[in-house]
């Protein structure tokens, strides 16, 4: 038996033990082929940590990142699951989240004062295993903290979503062991034939993912079920796809 083969078998065994009975390859696809095709595994891993932050410290970008994660959590929760949202500030507005698919019946809010409490409560929720996803709003979390979250997520088979909020400098500048790290920024909305604001668009940038290169896309924001979409007029608009190459190194 070759050494490489034995090593590979051992790795598979370790992966199976670490995931504790959960299917380690279970993923939540976005349902957008452009996006899913570029993600390692074809979607977001169910038992893993995913991070998102606003592309800038603007108020709108922060709201866009919030909605992006709310949409993922809503789709993960399905019809009967519950999402635990751990907040440090009191500025979440639930009617807006409900319009991204996260109904009040699916949302459980825990309010903490400090980042360390946010992480502890998230870990508790992740390990319990009955939740569909745990969303945490946090400013600082280093490699150790995200690694702990990742282990807790694997133990409970629960998705951990970290909303990195801007405090001083780029929140994604810190190292992290999250499986995917997203940067969401507002983009001009789909123009309507008349006056008014059309469906919002986002610059969705995958700054880093484990097992694949980063990329950037222009997408329409979450609909009432939390699903993203490709804008119909994508071909006519200045696409950001070419920026993907320079981000691969990131």
């Amino acid at each position: 038996m070759g050494r490489a083969l034995r090593l590979e078998r051992l790795r598979a065994e370790v992966r199976a033990i670490a995931a504790a009975g959960q299917d380690p390859a279970a993923v939540l696809p976005f349902g957008v082929s452009d996006l899913d095709a570029r993600l390692a595994g074809g979607g977001l891993a169910d038992a893993g940590v995913h991070e998102a932050a606003g592309a800038s410290d603007g108020y709108s970008d922060d709201a866009a990142a919030t909605l992006f994660l709310a949409g993922i959590a809503a789709r993960r929760a399905g019809r009967r699951g519950t999402v635990l949202w751990v907040v440090a500030r009191r500025d979440l507005f639930a009617p807006g989240l409900a319009q991204a698919g996260l109904d009040p019946g699916k949302l459980l809010v825990a309010e903490t004062g400090r980042d360390s409490d946010v992480l502890a409560v998230m870990e508790e929720g992740l390990r319990h295993g009955a939740l569909a996803a745990v969303v945490g709003e946090i400013g600082r979390a280093g490699l150790t903290e995200t690694r702990r979250l990742q282990l807790a997520a694997e133990e409970g088979g629960t998705m951990a979503l970290l909303l990195r909020r801007w405090r001083k400098g780029d929140p994604l500048g810190e190292p992290s062991s999250a499986l995917t790290r997203w940067r969401i920024g507002s983009a001009p909305s789909v123009p309507l034939p008349g006056p008014g604001v059309g469906r919002a668009c986002w610059h969705v940038e995958l700054a880093r993912q484990r097992g694949g290169p980063g990329f950037s896309l222009l997408l329409e924001s979450c609909d009432a079920q939390g699903r993203l979409a490709v804008p119909a007029l994508s071909a006519d608009r200045p696409d950001q796809a070419d920026r993907g190459d320079e981000r691969q190194a990131a």
Binding site: R80, G96, A98, D103, G105, V121, H128, S186, P188, A200
Partner: protein, 529 residues
Amino acid sequence: MEAQIEQLPMHRRPTIREMGRRSEAAEMPFKRMRPDEGGGSVFLPSFAAEGAALVTIHNSGQRVVLAAVSREAAALGLALGMPLTQARAMIPGLDIHEADPAADAALLDRIGRFAARRITPLVATAGADGLWLDLTGAAHLNGGERRVCAGLLRFCAKLGIEARIAVAGNGAAADALARHGPERLTLCPEGGEQAALGPLPIAALRIDPAVVEKMRRLGLEWIGELAAVPRGPLVRRFGRDVLLKLDQALGQAAEPIDPIVPRDAPSAELRFAEPIGGAEVIARAVSDLLDQLIERLRETGLGARALLLLCDRVDRQQQRVEIGAARATRDKAHLLRLLARRIETIEPGFGIDAMRLIAARTEPLGAIAVPGDLAAPEPVPDLSQLIDLIAGRLGAQRLYRLSAIESDVPERSVCRIAPLDTTIAWPDAWPRPPRLLPRPERIDHVVAELPDAPPRRFTWRGRMYKLVRGDGPERIYGEWWKRGAERDAVRDYFHVEDESGARFWLFRRGDGIDPRTGDLSWWIQGGCG
């Protein structure tokens, strides 16, 4: 009324029949009570009703008989148990209501619970119209027996109830004195039961009426006479019950009372020969206590909602730890996990020599049927244990669900409810932002056409935003029923987007036409993604 009738000429006076049909509304004794289960048709014999003679009726076999009579009716010669037809024949203008024993019992229970909260924890119902209060060790807290009783009489008078109170060394004696004593308020001195009860009729002992009648025929009418009769022949002739009731009234036999509000919360206690201090030892003791407590809870069919752990230290200090559960539970592993986290907050000092675990709040917890239907939908995972863990860490107030409340004003449209309550969704007609500023912030240099075009630019936090698209206005009116100042107030909400695609939720005070609706200042309230 009668004087007016007197003044009429004979031929214009109303006929007896008309007068008999007339019924005047009686002053309702419960008018001043909160409208709830104590229904308006509750009338006990001692309840005062002013105005017309008033009776309540119930069916007794094939006849309809009087269940209760007001003071006026009693003065006219009506008595309990009289057939209704006879009462009607005697008094034409009788006010008749159906008796409602369930509501009577509910009212009595309510008064009992009030007394249990305010006077003494040991309150029991006695018959359909009486309450026993165990004042042992509680009277001095309220200024002595006389003041307690006077306060209770005043309270009942406010409710429209003509109460009678007696205080004696035991419940049976007090019951007899209250129902058959000469005064409305009797305070029997200590050891004076025999003298006080002597002149009361034997019926006061709560003996079967047939037996009372038999005694009356033998010439025994008063309790004093009964007490003087040799006991042996008494038992042979009337049975043991008579003597038991007599002994209870004279304080020679015990009569436990069954309180409305259970006296003791289930608890478990451990005393140690040697003071303990180590965390592992405390954890083991807590585990033992939980075993005992859960056994006790299982016997009574209860589940714990709140547990209180009291640790008595050698230096007479007490350490307390409280935990709560979102749903009644008897799950040892879960409760132990909640308690184990708090063990580190216990300061053992020089050692703990006794520990007590009390189920401070309990709820009935029966068996739960498991759906046997194979096609049943997958059950919703139980979150109550997770909720307890998080609430134990953060505090129960900081874990909640958000639910709709009937208000259009955005900052008032969300309320917090307990994690296991059912939520209500918001109407989905207009877009709402996911983030709301804690308070709306003023924006400056706004360029907008009046009355209802979306703004073109504004400055916020020192930055200028040039807007290219806008939706609105969504008009929200002030809630005058909450605050008088909002009577005319109007907010016009706009959903706007700037050149870079950033979206905001702004509003203008005022509708742009009527100056009373607002001062046309602009505010930002939220950010839309």
